[in-house]
Symmetry: C2
Subunit: 117 residues, 2 copies
DNA sequence: GCCAATATATTGCCTGCCAATATGTAGCAC
DNA sequence: GTGCTACATATTGGCAGGCAATATATTGGC
């Protein structure tokens, strides 16, 4: 998968992997990797600033966890985050439907004039 | 739809609308608009450079058409363009499958470990 | 002792689409 | 005959946003 393929969909990915329970940044990277079958490989320079931003936006909350001398920051969804995730999923469907309708018009499930939001 | 949503998928869109026959730039814009149900609204600053680039890459060929004093440049797919379109469609499926698997794991048709290209 | 994996954080860059702008024809309303 | 809109193409500059590179620290295997 080309390098910055997730552009525009990163927030949704992060919120989605956190839906099933709290995770720290490093674990989020591997979770995304695993769930995408290895296709998506996020970098630290991508997710740490993003997690920070999502927390500032109130979609995530975090607390530090200590394993011996090691510290990790665990993020979890807030209620607002859960709501935002639903929105991101709707956006994703609209997006794939729109592009799909142009790229692959024969495929059922793609947008046809008349399904406005 | 947010402004630069098509980022990374523009070439596929252009090739796809040209699959059914030659079109000039302005008509491509309206074709994409119509086929996406109004969701996608490409700008001239987006498509004219892109069409030019695709022609330089050998995926399109063009010739000028004259309607009275009016001139328009009609693009059509080359064989290479047709092949590239097939590739773009495969890329699109891999992309939606990968993101979908993370964002919406319950949905059937999304990637699961084991469907490498 | 050295290296890889685990873990977080920051800086600067680059890609690639968009907004703005320019230019010209054609047709219609008034 | 002036002004407006639709049709048609082209170019410039800007910027959002993810990535590469880099830095730092702990832990465990060999």
């Amino acid at each position: 998968m080309k390098a910055d393929a997730v552009r525009g969909h990163l927030d949704g990915l992060l919120l989605a992997v956190l839906e099933q329970g709290p995770l720290h940044g490093y674990a989020i990277i591997t979770a995304v990797q695993r769930r995408s079958g290895g296709a998506l490989d996020l970098r630290t320079g991508t997710i740490y600033p993003a997690l920070n931003r999502l927390e500032r936006q109130g979609l995530l909350s975090s607390d530090w966890e200590s394993i011996g001398e090691r510290r990790r920051r665990c993020y979890q969804l807030t209620d607002a985050g859960r709501a935002a995730l639903a929105g991101k999923r709707a956006d994703w469907r609209a997006f794939t439907s729109a592009i799909g309708a142009v790229l692959d018009p024969a495929t059922p499930g793609n947008a046809t004039p008349g399904n406005a939001t």
